[in-house]
């Protein structure tokens, strides 16, 4: 029997980044359906990221994305991408619209893009946020005209005389249909339809008619003088798209082990709703099976989920902003830097000896106030001889936290049931095999109060990594 408390925690860990015991307690008497309604209502309004301003002076035709290839600007841009990264992490931790940020994060991985043009990455991030809970069909059309995506998948080089198939291939393989639902000929033909979709020197989408091939194309069994939008519509008419996208959502939000019957039912409604993302998510979060024991604590949280959860629970902060990036690098997930167009695979691929040790020792770094000893590998464009100035490294590695709220939440709980209570709030999977004695020792040999020490001990358990 899954308790109400556990269900609420499950919802917020999956649809958001977890919530504090205080917030969970305030919802114990609210019905699950009202909580879900409120979750969607809280994500209704949102604001664009405006951290980076448009990099070019107005009417400056000389400098544009094309000229940003100069190395110095690459590196500046790299730094800006890192700043954008920490900006987004903070937003995830503080926004009331957690569902919208979580969905934006999901689409950020689905439409994984990496370009050195920080401003264009911000534009893409805003596009993903706009459609995150909207219509998948609209989102696909928008992302196909997204400047960062066009640059990343070489559609700039996709010209009538020399088609470049990169975008056409990935749009089917990774964004919509999945392998096996199209042929190499479909890729060749549809690449012709996307010819001329490019980015102008100001970094905006531009249809270059001279480079567009307006001849007939034979695509997925149809023939016509299709343009890129026609191709996307033909793709979207296939039910395989709904199955492909729903499967990925199910893996991420419900369980890494897919229940194919359930997914095909969800996919059918998704298709019938003409790809209404909100409707699909609401269907999942209001289903009884979503709260089944087998789906709770069933997945290894991603590094970003872990970091944001820590920020929400104990206000984890890093005096040197680079540390939040070091953490992401050490744990193998850096926002705006996916490994490739297929994104992060997640699940057990997050875990190796070093990343697991780092995950489990974060509470120790926090408690002891020592800096992390993990150093990330240098960026390939970095020249080690002119790496960061000393002052940029001041306090690097230090992680601070504020335990006040959690201490307050548990200070009135009688001591004999305190450990059990804490386990209930911090561990989602079965806790019966956890050795309670381990949690009682003064393991960090500090004068930190016992309450904090026990909570930090629980957060050092492998089970804390499962959400």
């Amino acid at each position: 029997m899954v308790s109400k408390q556990k269900k609420i925690q499950h919802l917020f860990l999956r649809a958001g980044f977890g919530e504090t015991p205080e917030r969970i307690n305030s919802l114990l008497n609210t019905s699950m359906s009202s909580i879900v309604e409120q979750l969607f209502a809280d994500s209704q309004n949102y604001q664009d990221m405006t951290y980076l301003s448009y990099p070019l002076p107005q009417d400056d035709e000389e400098k544009g994305a094309g000229n940003l290839k100069i190395l110095a600007q690459f590196i500046k841009s790299y730094k800006e991408r890192e700043e954008l990264n920490t900006e987004w992490i903070s937003r995830m931790a503080t926004t009331p619209g957690v569902l919208r940020e979580k969905m934006t994060f999901f689409w950020h991985n689905h439409f994984a893009t990496s370009t050195p043009f920080a401003y264009l990455m911000q534009v893409q991030n805003n596009t993903l946020r706009e459609y995150a809970l909207g219509n998948f069909s609209d989102m696909l059309h928008a992302i196909a005209k997204d400047p960062a995506m066009i640059i990343f998948l070489n559609n700039q080089q996709n010209k009538k005389a020399h088609p470049n198939e990169n975008f056409a291939r990935e749009v089917m393989e990774l964004f919509t249909l999945g392998v096996g639902n199209y042929t190499e000929d479909d890729i060749k033909e549809s690449a012709r339809a996307f010819t001329g979709w490019s980015v102008d020197r100001r970094g905006e989408y531009q249809f270059n008619e001279n480079q567009h091939d307006d001849g007939d194309k034979q695509f997925l069994g149809q023939k016509g003088d299709f343009n890129g939008d026609d191709i996307l519509n033909i793709i979207l008419s296939k039910k395989e798209v709904s199955v492909f996208v729903t499967t990925k959502i199910y893996r991420e939000f419900v369980n890494p082990v897919v229940d194919t019957n359930r997914v095909s039912q969800l996919a059918e409604s998704f298709y019938q709703s003409n790809y209404d993302i909100s409707a699909l998510m609401k269907q999942i979060f209001t289903s009884d099976w979503f709260y089944d024991e087998e789906n709770i604590g069933a997945k290894v949280c991603s590094p970003v989920e872990l970091i944001v959860r820590y920020k929400k629970l104990i206000n984890v902060d890093t005096p040197n902003p680079k540390t939040i990036l070091d953490l992401q690098k050490g744990l193998s997930q850096v926002l705006f830097f996916p490994p490739n167009v297929a994104g992060w695979k997640g699940g057990n691929t997050w875990i190796d000896s070093s990343s697991l040790m780092l995950r489990l020792t974060i509470p120790m770094y926090v408690i002891k106030g020592e800096g992390m000893i993990v150093k990330a590998k240098p960026h390939p464009e970095e020249n080690p001889n002119d790496m960061q100035q000393e002052d940029e490294n001041a306090g690097r590695g230090k992680i601070t936290a504020d335990w006040t709220a959690l201490n307050t939440a548990f200070s009135n709980v009688p001591e004999d049931v305190r450990t059990e209570k804490m386990l209930d709030y911090f561990i989602q999977c079965d806790t019966s095999r956890i050795d309670r004695n381990l949690l009682k020792i003064n393991w960090a040999k500090t004068d930190t109060n016992n309450l904090t020490l026990s909570m930090a001990a629980i957060m050092s358990l492998p089970e804390f990594q499962l959400i």
Binding site: L71, S114, R169, G297, A298, K299, V300, K329, G330, S332, F337, P339, N340, V341, A342, K345, N348, T349, I351, D352, S353, S354, S355, L356, M357, L360, T361, M364, I373, V374, K375, A376, K377, P378, P380, E381, E382, N383, P384, N385, C429, D430, R433, D435, L438, L439, I441, W443, A457, S460, L461, P462, E463, Q465, L466
Partner: protein, 399 residues
């Protein structure tokens, strides 16, 4: 306490035993690979300009493409009538002349990608250009050894704080640490020690099982590495810059202390030379050469050079022509250096890159990088390379 126990254990190993590659129990400790050999992989990050490392100093096309960047006599060490090495690679020239080094030219893959990230991803995962794999070739080597049942993380070691994709298998993963004592210190956290100590296989919850098993393996590896890092202490000078020297020294000390890892992996950054290449590449190459000089001497002194093969690689070479900033931009095919005490075919393995026939200004590959991997897998590590690479790539007769 542990330290002093190890210190005394180290005193118990007489110098002459150390000299014969004896471990702390006085036993010869070969690497765990079925051949008794070990592989050391050196990743040159950023895209090393191989054309200014192995220089065709009689070829006009080279100097025409690189009017100021082309290396002239003072900057070269001749190794044959046609070929010279960059003078910063002094130790490599010595290896070459003593028959301990092979150069493989024109290594690459079809439809080369010029992004650092993507091309490194391709090299590390050993995928095709249009294929996305989430495991690396050395990780899959661990998977392939006795079907992954006997491998331990420390069988493949990366000297770094984070583990590269190269060492992540589908089931097994290698071990990364920058210093054995830091790894050990981290592993002393009483909570995670306690959890690891109580680990018992639990099939009720596969995710918990996976985390706990990984943790238990990590603790075992941390102990193993710590115990096999202190017996031999190198007294040689390794180059200072950039941690590279210290990390190579750590590998030498592990090997000569009887650690039986089959693969060691290390990165040297700083090869992305778009601007002012000469100074930047010189520093990086000198670092590489001086480091390998000390490293190979340590191995020789301990009779570990003959069973060791070292290979370098980079995510791509650079364009043949220099750019307007005294540097070179991202290119394609590149050369690979293989060093070891007992190579089957030292010297120039195949002809130098063809500067006459270029693909839009880039070198054309004629050896797939996975042929080099197949060579290392079969001849150094003793596994069926198709299990790791997914299909047959012809091994080269280099080692």
């Amino acid at each position: 306490m542990r330290n002093s126990a190890l210190a005394s254990a180290s005193l118990l190993v007489p110098g002459f035993l150390k000299a014969f590659g004896m471990g702390k129990n006085g036993l010869y400790v070969p690497p765990a690979s079925t051949t008794g050999k070990r592989l050391v992989v050196i990743q040159l990050s950023g895209g090393n300009d191989g054309l200014n490392c192995v220089v065709p100093f009689r070829n006009d096309l080279y100097y025409r493409a690189r009017p100021t960047l082309g290396l002239k006599d003072d900057d070269l060490i001749k190794i044959s009538d046609e070929v010279a090495l960059n003078s910063n690679l002094e130790a490599l020239a010595n290896f070459y002349n003593s028959g301990n080094m092979a150069i493989i030219n024109s290594v690459g893959y079809p439809n080369p990608n010029r992004s650092h990230f993507r091309s490194m991803d391709i090299w590390q995962s050993a995928s095709d250009e249009n294929e996305y794999l989430y495991s690396g070739w050395i990780g899959r080597y661990l998977d392939a050894t006795c079907d992954g049942t006997c491998a331990k993380p420390y069988n493949a070691v990366e000297i770094d704080d984070t583990l590269s994709l190269s060492l992540k298998g589908d089931n097994m993963k290698g071990l990364a640490f920058s210093q054995p004592n830091l790894l050990y210190k981290c592993s002393q956290n009483p909570i995670i020690r306690g959890v690891a100590k109580e680990y018992k296989p639990n099939n009720d919850h596969p995710e918990v099982e996976y985390l706990q098993k990984t943790l238990a393996d990590t603790m075992e590896s941390a102990d193993y590495i710590y115990e096999h890092s202190n017996i031999f202490k190198s007294s040689r000078t390794y180059p200072g810059g950039n941690n590279f020297g210290n990390r190579l020294k750590t590998i030498a000390e592990l090997i000569c202390s009887g650690c039986n890892s089959s693969v060691y992996y290390i990165s040297l950054p700083g090869f992305d030379t778009h601007v002012g290449q000469k100074g930047q590449q010189s520093r990086a190459l000198k670092n590489l050469s001086d480091g390998l000089d000390a490293f190979c001497h340590d191995l020789k002194d301990n009779n570990q050079f003959d069973n060791t093969v070292i290979m370098t690689f980079s995510e791509f070479g650079r364009r043949v022509s220099q750019n307007a900033s005294g540097g070179t931009d991202h290119g394609t095919a590149n050369n690979i250096y293989v060093i070891g005490g007992k190579l089957a075919k030292p010297g120039m393995y195949n002809p130098m890159a063809d500067l006459q026939n270029l693909d839009e200004g880039d070198l054309i590959y004629n050896i797939d990088f996975r042929q080099v991997y197949a060579t290392m897998l079969e001849k150094v590590l003793g596994v069926d390379s198709t299990k790791v690479l997914g299909r047959k790539f012809d091994a080269l007769g280099v080692v």
